[in-house]
């Protein structure tokens, strides 16, 4: 049956590599674009005090956050289509964590739209804190999940490929997972702070600028600490023997070993890859170094580079692993044995090659329409746009 299958003109191993990169691009797109929405939401009740300030903050993200969120939805959809085993194991294995992410994302569309519909103080406080909590919970859970990818997750398959998962939600909350969660919160709070410092004026811009600098230096320190931990304290995973890069996606047929420092192997083989963690640290430090009120666009750009670098570091360290199994290392999901068929990868690549540039173009257009600062004086004069 395999041999009768229609194949595309691009070799299977190349397609798998491209889809690994595309998954990374989607996650980075999500972290860079929706990341500042999540960070802004976290900072909302802390940086904004008066009602008008709160609305000023919200209006920096209200017109565009919905489009940004699709990067995450598409990350889920693309892993369903291109990496179905990864989608199945991660979403069912992280059941409660995913449910928490879901609730924190669900609260956003209603929180933005409903908040200004009633002129009631408690009503508005409720939605502001709901958005902030949602931003915090989503950020920390994403970080915890990524940290646990590096540790390995307790799953395996039976003979008909049914997943077994030998862990629960609290198993994810181990020390390294929590440090990763904290890193994620700091990173996105820095990003939201840099965004607000650029997009607002007055007291909000000042407070946001201080928050961004503080979170920037903390994120750089925690990221460096996590890097040291990965190098010195965590056993990475490595493939053993020859693994076919073009075989059918059967994750049961390979050898895997665990070894200290294995997650650094890719940087030894290809030193230029060290650019990713370096940009992560450098970007965050630059955010911290730029004085409040100066070079706000540069600070936001540095923040975006830091976010991209930190997310990319995780993916590059894991490669070729997507999801290592701590209980059945030989059943770990890798780029070479967890993908969709060659035809599906090819068709979806064609669609993505056509549609992604269009998406980037109108995302830029939509952000361009809303360019410029949201000024407190303007906001205070009029009602909400919703």
């Amino acid at each position: 049956m395999t041999e009768t299958m229609a194949a595309g003109p691009i070799p299977y191993d190349i397609l798998r590599l491209i889809w690994w990169a595309l998954l990374g691009i989607l996650l980075i797109g999500f972290a860079v674009l929706d990341g500042y929405d999540l960070g802004t939401a976290m900072l909302l009740p802390l940086v904004g005090r008066a009602d008008a300030e709160r609305r000023q903050i919200r209006e920096t993200i209200e017109p565009n956050w919905e489009g940004h969120q699709v990067w995450f939805i598409l990350g889920g959809g693309a892993s369903f289509a291109a990496w179905p085993l990864l989608y199945a194991v991660s979403f069912s294995g992280f059941y409660i964590a995913m449910f928490l992410v879901l609730l924190s994302l669900i609260i956003r569309p209603v929180g933005f739209n409903f908040r200004d519909k009633l002129p009631n103080y408690r009503w508005r406080e409720f939605w502001d804190w709901g958005l902030a909590t949602g931003g915090f919970v989503a950020s920390i859970v994403f970080g915890v999940a990524f940290g646990n990818l590096l540790l390995g997750v307790p799953f395996g398959f039976d003979s008909e490929m049914r997943i077994s998962y030998a862990g629960g939600f609290f198993g994810l909350l181990n020390p390294f997972g929590l440090v990763s969660g904290i890193l994620s919160v700091l990173m996105l709070a820095m990003h939201g702070g840099a965004w607000l410092a650029m997009k607002t004026d007055g007291a909000v811009a000042l407070r946001a600028g201080h928050a961004a600098r503080l979170c920037g230096v903390a994120a750089a320190v925690v990221f460096a600490l996590a890097g040291w931990w990965v190098a010195a304290g965590i056993d990475g995973y490595a493939l053993v023997g020859v693994v076919s890069h073009t075989g059918p996606s059967d994750p049961l047929a390979k050898g895997v070993t665990r070894a200290a420092g294995a997650w650094l192997a890719n940087y030894h083989i290809h030193p230029p890859l060290l650019a990713a963690p370096a940009l992560g640290v450098a970007g965050a430090l630059l955010v911290a170094l730029i004085p409040v009120g100066r070079a706000r666009k540069l600070a936001f750009l540095a923040s975006a580079v830091a976010v991209a670098g930190i997310v990319a570091t995780t993916g590059i360290s894991l490669f070729p692993f997507l999801l290592p199994s701590s209980t059945h290392p030989e059943m770990s999901l890798t780029v070479w044995d967890a993908s969709s068929s060659q035809l599906t990868l090819f068709v979806m690549l064609l669609a993505t090659a056509i549609l992604l540039p269009i998406i980037l173009a109108y995302t830029a257009f939509a952000l361009g329409v809303m360019r410029g600062k949201v000024r407190l004086a303007d906001v205070a004069q009029r009602e909400s746009r919703y």
Partner: protein, 511 residues
């Protein structure tokens, strides 16, 4: 091992969250297009009242859209969280339209919906009109791709089972997209959305006219809704009929259950208009029959019989027995991938493999299934007859009612008699009906597909994740609480916005 409690709870959660999500989807589909039509009139005539209409219905659209997005994220997550085996078994095919929905539709509607609200003063007239149309097109494209995915669950074409990866894999993207079941479903469902949007506008406009408020806006809105609604209601019924015809090709049992047709009817089959399906005796009591009609609808001919439940079950039993042969070959092939004889047997019987999996409900080792277990599995093929019989009749009856309602509205609007209070009252009272029809449509389509997740390929109970009962109970409890609170809020905000009505006209120039 599959825990039956997890399966039942996961089905309950999926049904609850999908039915809830589908309260908001049809209105988004219909209202987005109505907004685009109203704003087009504004741009063409430059009369500010059409802009006020667009903005007023836009407020209600916004509340509903937020709920649709919020509850839609759940659906995208849920395949992975609760139906992991389903996801890995068919993700190679089913995942593609879902990802395309994200690429082609979600990005479009989500990127422009913000500009719809925030762009009035920042975009030129034509620019804002383009934004509104792009939101409407995005919503409709979303329906297209999700129904291509759903159409594949009803009529799985363009794929093949691969023993090496233990899953279904794509063989023809063209067949997947141009699946006739999917195409009929798209137009039927999208039109149902337009009907929902039109009745929403019709009923609320009628409310204003009854109270003598916002008369100018209400009359214009009612006229737009009447003409758009009439075309859509006709389209729903015609394409619903097409879906029924296609079910005779691959979902004969669903059709037989919808008609409570226990035995094969000689050609041309009569249509049972009403009756009481009796599960104990497998008969339909007090049936009122219309000769010939079912034969015409279901087979488009006068000489083809429509098969009943009993002979279809006998056929199903045969499929299970053939499926066991394919299943034995699959096990041999998993042991030795080079076993050419087993490969040939599996290739030949691959269409029946799913039927053997039905036995997994009764025995872990399906090859040792007893004749009694095979009988039980064959009987599982019968969907829930009374629910389908009545669900279908209420939905179809409402479909014809909507045609009459819109035709009346259209007649009254075009003869300038929109002050008829009896009609306005009927229009207002019709407000909940399109939601009832839409939800029943979902029930007939999805509950009627049981016991299959993917017709003939994968039984629903096999698709569930290996998660704990406690975890699923926790998420159901969370959804019920969260969604109930949202429902109360949604209805309260909608009612408040409707009671307040359109804001007084803004002065010319930038606000």
């Amino acid at each position: 091992m599959i825990d039956p409690t997890v399966v039942e709870l996961s089905r309950l959660q999926f049904a609850l969250t999908a039915l809830y999500h589908f309260l908001f989807v049809p209105l988004t589909l219909g209202l987005s297009l109505l907004l685009a039509i109203m704003e087009s009139v504004y741009v063409m005539t430059r009369r500010p009242i059409w802009r006020e209409m667009t903005q007023f219905w836009g407020i209600l659209f916004g509340i509903n859209f937020a709920m649709g997005v919020a509850t839609g994220i759940t659906m995208e997550f849920q395949f992975g969280t609760n139906w992991a085996y389903y996801s890995q078994y068919v993700g190679d095919i089913f995942g593609a339209p879902l990802a395309l929905e994200g690429l082609m539709a979600f990005f479009l509607e989500a990127s422009f919906v913000g500009l719809f609200f925030f762009g009035w003063d920042r975009l030129p007239r034509l620019g804002h009109l383009a934004v509104t149309w792009l939101v409407a097109i995005g919503s409709n494209l979303s329906a297209l791709w999700i129904l291509i995915a759903n159409g594949w669950m009803q009529n799985p074409v363009g794929g093949q089972f691969n023993a090496a990866t233990m899953r279904m894999e794509l063989t023809s993207f063209y067949d997947l997209v141009f699946n006739p079941v999917a195409q009929a479903k798209v137009v039927h469902t999208v039109s149902a959305g337009y009907v929902t949007g039109s009745i929403f506008v019709l009923a609320i406009s009628a409310y204003y006219l009854l109270r003598g408020r916002h008369v100018a806006i209400a009359k214009r809105s009612l006229t737009v809704a009447a003409s758009f609604g009439l075309a859509s209601a006709l389209s729903v019924v015609v394409l619903g009929d097409e879906s029924g015809y296609l079910e005779t090709v691959n979902q004969k049992l669903k059709l037989a259950a919808m008609e409570a047709m226990w035995e094969t009817k000689p050609a041309p089959a009569s249509l049972t208009l009403f009756g009481l399906p009796d599960l104990a005796t497998h008969t339909t009591r007090y049936a009122i029959e219309i000769p010939w009609v079912l034969g015409l609808i279901a087979t488009r001919s006068l000489d083809t019989p429509v098969e009943g439940i009993a002979p279809l079950i006998a056929e199903g039993r045969k499929h299970i027995e053939d499926g066991l042969v394919a299943y034995r070959a699959l096990l041999a092939l998993r042991q030795n991938p080079n076993d050419a004889a087993s490969r040939a047997t599996l290739t030949k019987g691959t269409g029946d493999l799913g039927y053997a999996l039905l036995l997994r409900r009764y025995t872990a080792n399906v090859l040792d299934a007893t004749p009694a277990q095979i009988d039980a599995a064959a009987n599982d093929l019968i969907p829930d007859v009374p629910v389908l019989f009545w669900g279908f009749r209420v939905m179809a009856g409402l479909g014809f009612y909507f045609i009459a309602l819109f035709a009346t509205a259209f007649f009254l609007a075009s003869t300038r008699r929109l002050d008829r209070r009896w009609f306005l009252r009927v229009a207002l009272l019709s407000l909940p009906l399109p939601w009832i029809a839409a939800e029943l449509g979902w029930v007939v389509a999805e509950y009627g597909r049981q016991p299959w997740a993917v017709e003939g390929i994968l039984p629903t109970f096999l698709g569930a994740s290996s998660v704990s009962v406690g975890a699923v109970l926790a998420s159901i409890a969370g959804f019920v609480m969260f969604y109930s609170a949202l429902a109360v809020t949604d209805v309260a905000l909608m009612s408040r916005a409707i009671r307040r009505g359109p804001p007084p006209p803004r002065k010319a120039g930038p606000a």
